[in-house]
Each structure stands twice: as structure tokens, then as C-alpha cells.
Amino acid sequence: MVKIEDFGEFTTSWCPGCGNFPILKAVKQALVELDLAPHQVLMVSGIGQAAKLPHYMRANGFNGLHGRSLPAAQGARLANTSLKVLVNSGDGCSYGEGGNHFLAAIRRNLDITLMAHDNQIYGLTKGQASPMTMEGHKTKTQPGGVISSQFNPIAVAVGLGASWVARSFAGDIEHMVEMIKAAVNHRGFSLLDIMQPCVSFNKVNTFAWYKERCYRLPDDYDPTDWEAAMKKSQEFADGIPIGVIYRNDRPCYESRVPVLAGDPLCAREVDYDAVEAVMRRYA
């Protein structure tokens, strides 16, 4: 049995009170409940405050470039389908610099999980607007208020028929654990957007602000109803639904690529006879 201590305790460089702490806790707890040991998972991230997470728990880790966590995660997953691949990165990393990879990962539907630590701000670079910063929100770099409309990862994902789309809140560990477990258990790309207070740079979307708005989707909510999900995707400032907003049974990429069946690619030996046979085709 995997224990929470297996994942270790690290000093972090996060600000006291940062919403990343409960998320880290929930990740560990979910892995314990999933009985996944540190060496069975690969924690992938980009660059940002959220993206430091792989440094703060014992597990395999890949801390890559800003915006590029999803490609790296998918590459690792293709190389070794026995690894559970979990991505933790910021909203800027995942939806800003990494926007194109977000679209592609949804469409590709490899079996990985993205947890976007959504603090609606660029934390590590000290408070510029992120794609999730709300219109009108004034920051140092947007002193007149943000002009671009807020990005909506839920609407984009549901609109593109993503296979698993959910939201959670860093103020509700129990909910996060439940969501992370469901995301990891889902066969295909799972998006979990987590509302995360940034105590240093986001004075608008605070813990209290989220607390007031986040509500659990009712039991009779049907996440397989695409239209309902699309409608839910538009709720935000007046109430933020948390829970599984949408899911479907689209087969994952791995199940459709024959080469991936069997041993992890990275562990296979070269079949020289087969290479020889390929070469002879050029004669």
C-alpha cells in the first residue's frame, strides 16, 4: 500500500497561503488512494509557480519549458505507456504560451491528465495578466484593465469534444482528490482546471471570491449531455460549477495505435531482421 509519506515533504518556494499547497496535498492524497507509488507516475510540468510542483514531491518528474508541459508529457507517455503521466502547470503555461498544445492534446486524446493551477494570473513573473485574467482586471502591465476577453478552457475543451473535462477548487481538498482520481482513471486526455488563489498577485480572485462562487454540480447533472456542458462552461463570475462538466467515451489514442500495444516502446529491442527486410525493399 502506498502511503502519503512515500511522496515526501519538501520546503517550497511558494508564498505562505498560496493555493498551490492544498493542490499538492490533494495530488499526493489522490495517488495514495489510487495506490500509485512514486516510481509508477511521472509528474510533468512547464515553468511557473505551479510548475515547481514536481520538485516538491518524491516521484518521477519532468520539469520542462514554459508552455511545453503537454508535448513533453505526451512524448513520455508514448515512450512508456506503463507510466501514469500527470501534468501540473499554471494557467499561463497551459492556456497562454502552451495554447496550441492544449488544443492538440484535446484532439489527440492520449491518456494523460492535465491539472491547470488556475490562479488567473502570471504568478512567478509577478502579476501580469494571464489568459484567465478577467476582462477589466487591472494589473501592473494592464493598468487600464485587461482588454482581451477571458480564455475559457472548459468551453474550448467541451466545444472540441474533449473526452474528460472538470473543474475543482484549491479550497476543497476532498473535491480535488475525487477529481484527480477520476481524471487519472479516465482513459484519455483529462482536463482538470483548478481555481487556485494567488495571495500575492491576484487580489480580485481571492480565496473568498472563489469560495463564494464555487458550487458543486448537482447529483442529477449529466456530464454526458454536451449541450448542458456547453452551457455550464459559460458560468463563471456569478457562480463557478465544480465537478465533472463533460465526458464521453471517445477511445484514447493508445487504443488506436497498434504499435503501442505490448511492452513500453522504450523497453523494446531492435529487430534487425525486420530492419534488414525493410532495407531489401529498396533493392
Binding site: 510533468v44 508514448l78 512508456n80 492538440a104
Partner: protein, 565 residues
């Protein structure tokens, strides 16, 4: 016209099937035992325009393009108009009777008669060409039978009939061309271009993942892996952009799978940040870059060697890398395979830098030994003391044992920051210094493997011609031509341009009276690299940047002009 070789140029619009005729003919030639060398010149369009497919062949022909045309196969009038001036004194235009030879010596084919339907015109042309070259008819017959076998016996029979008819017709015509002399006995030959050999080299190296975004002339490397990779256990994924390609590669390679990424200069430019990531995270990826002329979109289907500096310096910060520059098809195979081992020894990005000319140049080559002479260098799956494992452990060589995550309880943390031995972020001055020195030190791990430049020509040469990459064949021919013209000339070809080991070449450079650096670019990038690292300045640069492959004659003319000056 040399008696021992022919230069056949097929010209026409994109979409007219010149590559089809060309490929059938080259395969027939190779099977008949001739040396074959193809240069493809095409425009960035799908239909129309003007393309050529040039075949230089004969029992002992040179693996390089040449200018004078022995047989010009004109699929349209424009081909005659454009190229008739390039015909050798006894050169012939082969064309349909409906076209005008514009005064050139010509053999006008009654294609309408020979081919029952337009679709058979290619085979009729093949027949005519085989006849003119004096090939054993059994060779194209067997080839066609194999090629059309899938389509049923009737189709095979129809094609053979057209072929025979064309052969017969040519036999009765008077084109005045001597048949090619019979080649000596050669073993089985493959017909393969540079990109195919790179793909095969990757397969022989046990490549597992290929990520790419389409970009001419790099795309066909992935295409070959797609065509053949399934049974070999290779996954090839066309991704959303070049940045995704190399970052995905960083993930798969860090997970332990041998990984290749193919692109051209513009794609590499986009990958620059990820190249740096491979450097700091010590992740081995082979990056195959088929160059085309820039800047930016430039001449997207043409050839150039102007991205050496980019391959040398792509990425921010400083970290080791290696750059192979194969000079021919066998080197594409060998050096791509070697690149994977080098990447693993160096735990860093390794480039295979070619260009459109070589990428698309089909050549007759002897089959390769797909089994490596030494076992491949691979990451570990498990370690003895998992709890003590550190991904970036300090070692004397700088190389830390590299472990695949997931096969044991040892944990692997791959990181893009400056980090401690176990991969955690650090800002410590002492560790920073040691890590940077460790990374740079790794270059020594491959220093003994550097491919020595290959020398040909006179031992005591007065004129020394230096080249790198795809110009090898032309350089070699130029040395032969200069020698034949009474010059003491030699060539030195670099199939690896980084790292440089001056012990392998500096004496030769200094010993020559006049040195020439031949490059397909406008600034002499390799000459600059040599000077930067050895202080040696070439006497002359022989440059070309018009997007077309270089010929021996171009080099000879430049050398003689400089020598006369």
C-alpha cells in the same frame, strides 16, 4: 560525351509524372549494375511550373550532378526551350512527335502509337530510354512485373507490351547514341535517397519515436518511418507545430525511447528553445535537418548549406552538441545510426545536417550492414541502489548514468533549471559552476569518436579543397578533373563538423599551398568555424547560394580562376 556515363535529364511540369519515369529508369539502371545518381530540382507548387529529374549513370559515373546533358527527356515544350543549350555536343532530345526539338538533335517518339492510353506514356518513355542506353530488356521487364503485380496479371501484361513496343521502336530508330558499356559484376544494389538512408539508419539504431511537422525537404524522413515503422515498433506522430515536436521528443527521450525529430531550417529555428532544454536536462535526441535556402521561407524546395551556424548555436546558454554532415547516402545511414549512440554518450542534442539535394538524391548503393559493429549505447532500466540514484550525479567524465523512469523504484527527475545532482532547482553558486562544467566536460566523452575528414587526391597536393555535407561527390569529381588538368589537387571532406578535432586536419590545411573552402552558402560558415577554432584562414571560399546543387565544373572553374588570379 564520356563513353562510360550518361547524364539524362527529364523535364516537365509538376504533375506530369517525371519522377515516375525517373524512378523506374534509375531502378532499372541500378539493377543492371550501373552507378546511379539523381538530382531533383522542383518548384514549390503541385501542378505546372518547371521541374527536372536528372540521372547521371554509367558503370563508373560520379556521384554528383553535372551540367552537360546527354539525353534530354522533354515532357513539354518548355523543357526543350530551357535546356537545349545544355545539351552535350552529341546529346539528344527525346520527345513526343507533337513537340518541337527547336533544332536540336532529337528522337521524336510516336507516344500516341506506343501507348494505348496516356497512362502508359511513362512506360513507353522508359522503354525508349532503356533501349537508347542499351540495357538488358529483362531488367525493366522484371521491374515492371514486380511493380504492377498487385494490380493483376492483365495490367502487368499491358505494361510489358508497351515496354516491348517502345524498345522495338527505339531499336529501329537511329538516335546515334552508343549504348552504355556493360558494368563489371557488382553485387545487389539499393536505390535510395538521403532521407531514406537517414530513416533506415534510425531504424537500425532502434529508433522508437519520431515527431515531426511537415516541412520540405525534411518530411520524407518521417514518411519513410511511417511507411515501414509499424512492424519495427516505431511510433510516428505528426504534431501541431515544430515546438511540440522537439518538446515531445524531450519527453519520450527522457523516458528512455530513442527519438528522432526531422525538419528544415525554419523548423529548427522554432525548436531553438527546446534544443537548449535538451542541453540542460541532458536528454539525447537526434535532430535531422534537411536544409533549404533561406532566409525565412526563401526557396522552399531548393538546396543550401546556410544553417550550419543555426545548428551550432540554436538555443540559449552553452551546452555540448554534435553535428554530423553526411556527404552521401551511405553516410546518411551510418552517421544517423552513429548519431543515436553519440546522443546517448553525450546526453545532448545531436544533429544530422543535410540539404534538399542530398535528401532527394537517389543513388545506387551497396546494401548496408544493419547490425551494428558495437552494441548500441542505451540508458539503464534499473540501478543497484535505487534510493541513492541521482539523475545528474557528478562524475569525472561529466556523464551521469541515465536511467529510464518507471522500471524500478529509483526516481528520475529531469529538469530545465540549474539543478542539484538529483535534479532539484538550485541557485547555489558552487553547484551551478560544477554542473555547467560537468555538462561541458561531456564533450570529451565523444572526442575519440569524431569522424575524421576524408581525404582524396594527391598526397602532396598544392591545392586543397575542403567541403562538408552533400558536396562530397562534386568535390571528389572536381579533384579528379583538376588532377586530370595537371594540378596537384586533393579534397578533404568533413562528415562531422562539430566538435572539431584540429589534430585530424590542421596539418593538412597548413601543408597545402592554397586552400579552398567549398560551401553552398553566401558567407562561408564552415570556413568561419575552422578559423574560430584553429585560427586557420582559407585562401578562398568557393560559394554558391542560388539554391541549386553544385557541380564539379563549378568548383573547378572557381579554383582555376582563383589560381590564375
Amino acid at each position: 560525351m564520356s563513353t562510360a556515363s550518361r547524364n539524362i535529364v527529364i523535364g516537365g511540369e509538376a504533375g506530369q509524372g517525371l519522377a515516375t519515369v525517373g524512378q523506374l529508369l534509375t531502378k532499372s539502371l541500378a539493377r543492371a549494375g550501373h552507378a546511379v545518381h539523381v538530382t531533383q530540382d522542383y518548384m514549390s507548387r503541385i501542378r505546372g511550373g518547371h521541374n527536372t529529374y536528372s540521372i547521371r549513370t554509367g558503370p563508373e559515373s560520379h556521384p554528383a550532378p553535372c551540367d552537360a546533358i546527354d539525353i534530354l527527356v522533354a515532357l513539354n515544350q518548355e523543357t526543350v526551350t530551357r535546356h537545349k543549350a545544355d545539351l552535350a555536343p552529341d546529346g539528344v532530345v527525346l520527345l513526343d512527335e507533337s513537340l518541337d526539338a527547336e533544332g536540336a538533335r532529337a528522337l521524336a517518339l510516336p507516344l500516341k502509337d506506343l501507348a494505348p492510353k496516356p497512362i502508359f506514356e511513362n512506360v513507353a518513355a522508359l522503354g525508349a530510354l532503356c533501349g537508347m542506353l542499351g540495357l538488358d530488356p529483362a531488367v525493366p521487364r522484371t521491374l515492371l512485373s514486380q511493380n504492377f503485380a498487385k494490380k493483376g496479371e492483365a495490367v502487368v501484361a499491358q505494361n510489358l507490351e508497351v515496354l516491348d513496343k517502345a524498345l522495338e521502336w527505339v531499336g529501329g530508330s537511329s538516335h546515334g547514341l552508343a549504348p552504355l558499356p556493360a558494368p563489371g559484376t557488382v553485387g545487389e544494389q539499393l536505390m535510395m535517397n538521403g532521407n531514406e538512408a537517414i530513416s533506415l539508419g534510425a531504424m537500425a539504431a532502434g529508433v522508437r519515436c519520431c515527431f515531426f511537422y511537415p516541412m520540405t525537404p525534411g518530411t520524407s524522413i518521417a514518411q519513410n518511418l511511417i511507411n515501414h515503422g509499424g512492424p519495427l515498433g516505431i511510433v510516428v506522430e505528426q504534431v501541431e507545430d515544430e515546438i511540440a515536436a522537439l518538446n515531445m521528443a524531450s519527453g519520450s527521450a527522457a523516458a528512455g525511447a530513442r527519438t528522432i525529430v526531422n525538419t528544415s531550417g525554419g523548423g529548427l529555428a522554432l525548436m531553438s528553445e527546446a534544443v537548449s532544454m535538451l542541453g540542460v536536462s541532458e536528454t539525447p535526441v537526434v535532430i535531422a535537418v534537411a536544409q533549404r535556402p533561406g532566409p525565412a521561407t526563401g526557396l522552399p524546395t531548393r538546396t543550401e548549406q546556410a544553417d550550419l551556424n543555426l545548428a551550432l548555436y540554436a538555443g540559449h546558454g552553452e551546452f555540448p552538441r554534435a553535428i554530423y554532415t553526411p556527404g552521401d547516402v551511405p553516410e546518411c545511414f551510418e552517421l544517423t545510426r552513429a548519431a543515436f549512440d553519440t546522443a546517448e554518450k553525450l546526453q545532448s542534442p545531436v544533429f544530422v545536417l543535410t540539404d534538399q539535394y542530398l535528401a532527394d538524391s537517389f543513388r545506387s548503393v551497396a546494401p548496408f550492414e544493419v547490425r551494428p559493429a558495437t552494441p548500441p549505447v542505451l540508458p539503464l532500466k534499473t540501478v543497484d541502489d535505487p534510493a541513492a540514484y541521482k539523475r545528474y550525479a557528478f562524475t569525472e567524465s561529466g556523464v551521469s548514468p541515465r536511467l529510464m523512469p518507471g522500471f524500478g523504484t529509483a526516481l528520475v527527475l529531469t529538469d530545465s533549471h540549474e539543478h542539484t545532482e538529483d535534479g532539484h532547482i538550485t541557485e547555489d553558486i558552487g553547484i551551478r559552476n560544477r554542473m555547467q562544467e560537468k555538462r561541458l566536460r561531456k564533450e570529451c566523452a565523444i572526442f575519440g569518436d569524431i569522424v575524421p575528414p576524408q581525404r582524396f587526391g594527391a598526397e602532396d597536393a598544392e591545392l586543397l579543397l575542403v567541403s562538408w555535407g552533400s558536396t562530397k561527390g562534386a568535390l571528389r569529381e572536381a579533384v579528379d578533373l583538376l588532377s586530370a588538368a595537371g594540378k596537384k589537387a586533393a579534397g578533404l571532406h568533413f562528415a562531422q563538423v562539430w566538435p572539431l578535432n584540429q589534430g585530424l586536419f590542421l596539418d593538412a590545411l597548413k601543408a597545402a599551398q592554397r586552400t579552398f573552402c567549398v560551401e553552398l552558402n553566401s558567407t562561408g560558415q564552415f570556413a568561419g568555424l575552422v578559423r574560430q577554432h584553429t585560427g586557420f584562414a582559407f585562401d578562398r571560399l568557393v560559394l554558391k547560394y542560388d539554391g541549386r546543387a553544385i557541380t564539379a565544373q563549378y568548383i573547378v572553374d572557381a579554383v582555376l580562376a582563383a589560381d590564375a588570379a
